[in-house]
C-alpha cells in the first residue's frame, strides 16, 4: 500500500494508463504511418540512409504513376467485387438465417453444417474451384469471383444474422401477417428494419473479408479483374522492391475500408459486442 492519499494514487494510476496507451498507439500505428509516409516520398527520400522519418514535402507523383498506368483501376475491381458480393451475401444469407430461425428449417444439423463451411481452409478448396472455373470459363471474370466471395461469406452472414433475427419478437411479425403482409413483405417491412444495426455490422465485415482476399484472387484472376491485393504483390522484387508503388497501392487499397469502418463505427462496436456475447 502506498502512503499517498487515495485521489493522488488515482491520478498516478491514470497517468500511467495514459502513458501505456500512448506507447501502444505509437507501436501499433507506426507501421501505418510509415506506409503512408513512403507513399508521399520521393525516390531519394525512400532510398536514403539513414531513413527519412518524415518527408520534406508531400508529393503525389507515386499516386499519379498508378493512375497513369491504370494500376489504380485494380482498386475499382476490388470495390466492385467486394460490394456486389457483399450485397448478394447479405440478401441470401439473411433470408436463409430467417428460415433457420423462424421455421427451424433443417433443424440444428443444417445450421451446424453451414457454420462448418466457415472452417474450410481456402487452400483446400481453391484448387478444385480453379479446375471447376477453368471448365466453366469463369476464370478472370467478375461473375466468377462474385459468386465465390458470396458463397464464402454466406456461413458468416447466416451465423451472425441468426443471432440478430432471434432477438426480433415474434409478435411483430405475426402482427404484420394479420395486418395484411405476405411472408416476403414481413421480411422486408419488419425483419430487415428490426435487424438494421446487425445488417450494417455484418455487411461491413463481409465487405472486408472479400476486400482482403488474396489467395482466390491470385489463383482466379489474370489481367481483367486483378484485385488490388494481387496488384500490390506485383511490385515485389527479389532484391529491389518498387517501394513507392507498394506503398501508394496499399494506401489506395486501405482508404475505402478505412472510410467504411469510420462511417459505420457505431454499428460495428455494437455488432462486435453482440456477436461476441451471443457467439
Amino acid at each position: 500500500m502506498s502512503a499517498l492519499p487515495l485521489h493522488r494514487r488515482h491520478g498516478v494510476r491514470l497517468s500511467f494508463r495514459y502513458l501505456i496507451a500512448a506507447l501502444l498507439v505509437v507501436i501499433f500505428c507506426f507501421p501505418v504511418y510509415w506506409l503512408f509516409i513512403i507513399s508521399f516520398k520521393t525516390p531519394d527520400e525512400i532510398f536514403a540512409f539513414p531513413p527519412v522519418w518524415y518527408p520534406e514535402s508531400i508529393q503525389f507523383s507515386n499516386y499519379k504513376v498508378l493512375f497513369k498506368d491504370g494500376d489504380a483501376a485494380t482498386v475499382g475491381n476490388s470495390l466492385i467485387l467486394a460490394s456486389v458480393s457483399t450485397f448478394f451475401a447479405m440478401i441470401f444469407g439473411t433470408i436463409a438465417a430467417y428460415s433457420l430461425v423462424r421455421f427451424k428449417t433443417g433443424g440444428e444439423n443444417l445450421a451446424v453444417w453451414i457454420i462448418s463451411q466457415r472452417m474450410m481452409p481456402p487452400v483446400a478448396i481453391v484448387f478444385p474451384i480453379f479446375l471447376l472455373y477453368v471448365w466453366l470459363g469463369w476464370v478472370d471474370s467478375y461473375f466468377g469471383l462474385i459468386i465465390l466471395y458470396t458463397a464464402f461469406s454466406l456461413p458468416y452472414v447466416i451465423w451472425m444474422m441468426r443471432g440478430y433475427i432471434e432477438d426480433i419478437p415474434l409478435e411483430l411479425e405475426e402482427s404484420a401477417l394479420v395486418d395484411g403482409c405476405t411472408r416476403w413483405e414481413v421480411l422486408w417491412k419488419v425483419v430487415l428494419p428490426m435487424a438494421r444495426s446487425g445488417l450494417f455490422a455484418t455487411a461491413v465485415f463481409t465487405f472486408i473479408f472479400a476486400w482482403n482476399d488474396f489467395l482466390f484472387a491470385l489463383v482466379l484472376t489474370r489481367t481483367e479483374v486483378t484485385t488490388y491485393t494481387v496488384q500490390v504483390t506485383h511490385y515485389f522484387g527479389g532484391q529491389s522492391n518498387f517501394w513507392a508503388k507498394i506503398a501508394a497501392m496499399s494506401v489506395l487499397g486501405t482508404i475505402p475500408v478505412f472510410f467504411t469502418v469510420a462511417v459505420m463505427q457505431r454499428y460495428l462496436v455494437r455488432g462486435i459486442s453482440m456477436g461476441a456475447v451471443k457467439g
Binding site: 409478435e171 405475426e174 402482427s175 401477417l177 394479420v178 395486418d179 428494419p193 428490426m194
Partner: protein, 357 residues
C-alpha cells in the same frame, strides 16, 4: 348470422394435444371472451383462428367463408397482441397506418382513418412520437388503434391488458367495452383474468384442457355453472367447497352440522357431495332469518378488509371458508359470530363426476 364458425377443431403440437375438438359459433357483433387457466388452449385457439397456427383438423369459417387453410392476411381479421407488437422504427401514426398501407389503401383514406381512430382513443397528440416514448397504457391504445382502423370482420385480442398495472387495466377495460359499443364489431378476447371476462363479455367461453367446459352469458355461468371447475373459476373471492353428505332434507357436513336445502327434490340420501357456497351468499346473522337461509355459529379466524367489504375466514364443517361481509361486521380474529347462509344459491357437486347436481 355468425361471423365465426368453428367445427370440430383440433390442434396438435407434436405429441401435445392443445385443442381437442372445439365447436364454436360467434354471432355478428358479439363480444366473446375465451377464458381459462394457463395451458387450457385459449391462446392456441385464438391463434388458430388468426391463422398464425396451422389447423390440425376441423374447419374455421369467418364471415361465411372457409378460411381453414387461408393465410392470416386473407382472413379479414385484426388482432391486438399481448406485448403491443408496435414497430419501434415507426412513429405512432405509421404504426396505426401499417395495416392500411399493407392493404394498399389510398393515402387520403389512410389519413382520415388514422385521425378518426386516434381521436376515438384519445392519442391524437401522440401521432409523431415513437413507441419507446410512450407509456404502457399509451402503447396499448396505439396497438388497439392499429386494429380498429381496419374494417375487419373479426377483431381478436390476445390478453391485451396483462402487461398493464392494475389501475390502467381497469381504465383500458372500460375503454375496450366503450369501443365495442361504438363500433358494434365482432370481437374475440382472450384472457386468464375472470374479472375481465365477467365485465367485458356478452358471452364467456370457458376452456379447460383444450375443450369448452361451458359457454354462456357471464351471469349464466356465474349463477348456473355446470361443473365444479366453472363454479370455482368464476367469482372473486372463489367459491367455497365444503365436503358433505346428502340427507333427505339437505346436507350433513363432516362435523355433523345439518343444513337444510329448500326446494330440492329427488336427492339421493347418503351420496357424497361438495357443497358450493359463494362468499357473497354468506352474511352476518340478521334480525330475522330470511327464507331459505340457515344460521350457523362460527369463530372468525382471519379478517382481510378490502375497503368496502371484508373477507373473513372461518371454519365450517371441517374446512375453512371465506365469507364476504360488511366492512364493519367483524373487527378481529377470534370473535364468535353467527352467519346466515343463502342455501337457495348453494350448489351441489357430484364428487365422482364433478358435475353440478
Amino acid at each position: 348470422m355468425s361471423d365465426l364458425k368453428i367445427t370440430n377443431l383440433h390442434k396438435h403440437y407434436g405429441a401435445f394435444h392443445a385443442v381437442k375438438g372445439i365447436d364454436l359459433d360467434v354471432p355478428s357483433g358479439e363480444f366473446t371472451v375465451l377464458v381459462g387457466p394457463s395451458g387450457c388452449g385459449k391462446s392456441t385457439l385464438l391463434r388458430t383462428i388468426a391463422g398464425l397456427e396451422e389447423t390440425s383438423s376441423g374447419s374455421i369459417e369467418i364471415g361465411g367463408k372457409d378460411v381453414t387453410w387461408a393465410r392470416p392476411r386473407d382472413r379479414d381479421i385484426a388482432m391486438v397482441f399481448q406485448n403491443y407488437a408496435l414497430y419501434p422504427y415507426l412513429n405512432v401514426k405509421d404504426n396505426i397506418a401499417f395495416g392500411l398501407r399493407a392493404r394498399k389503401f389510398a393515402e387520403a383514406e389512410v389519413e382520415k382513418r388514422v385521425a378518426r381512430a386516434a381521436e376515438m382513443l384519445g392519442i391524437g397528440h401522440l401521432l409523431t412520437r415513437f413507441p419507446r416514448e410512450l407509456s404502457g397504457g399509451q402503447r396499448q391504445r396505439v396497438a388497439i388503434g392499429r386494429a380498429i382502423v381496419r374494417d375487419a370482420i373479426l377483431y381478436l385480442f390476445d390478453e391485451p391488458l396483462s402487461n398493464l398495472d392494475a389501475q390502467l387495466r381497469d381504465d383500458m377495460r372500460v375503454e375496450i367495452k366503450r369501443l365495442h359499443k361504438e363500433l358494434k364489431r365482432t370481437m374475440i378476447y382472450v384472457t386468464h383474468d375472470q374479472i375481465e371476462a365477467m365485465t367485458l363479455a356478452d358471452r364467456i367461453v370457458l376452456l379447460r384442457d383444450g375443450l369448452i367446459e361451458q359457454q354462456g352469458t357471464p351471469l349464466d355461468l356465474f349463477e348456473r355453472p355446470k361443473t365444479r371447475f366453472v363454479a370455482g373459476f368464476l367469482g372473486s373471492p372463489k367459491m367455497n367447497f365444503v365436503p358433505a353428505t346428502l340427507t333427505a332434507a339437505g346436507v350433513k357436513l363432516a362435523d355433523g352440522t345439518a343444513l337444510e336445502l329448500p326446494g330440492r327434490s329427488g336427492l339421493k340420501a347418503g351420496q357424497a357431495v361438495m357443497l358450493g357456497l359463494r362468499p357473497q351468499h354468506i352474511a352476518m346473522a340478521g334480525t330475522h332469518l330470511a327464507k331459505g337461509h340457515v344460521r350457523v355459529p362460527v369463530v372468525i379466524e382471519l379478517v382481510q378488509p378490502t375497503g368496502s367489504r371484508v373477507q373473513a375466514t372461518m371454519p365450517l364443517g371441517g374446512t375453512s371458508i371465506i365469507a364476504e361481509l360488511g366492512a364493519h361486521d367483524v373487527s378481529r380474529p377470534g370473535e364468535k359470530a353467527e352467519i346466515d347462509i343463502d342455501m337457495t344459491r348453494a350448489v351441489l357437486i357430484d364428487t365422482t363426476s364433478d358435475k353440478i347436481i
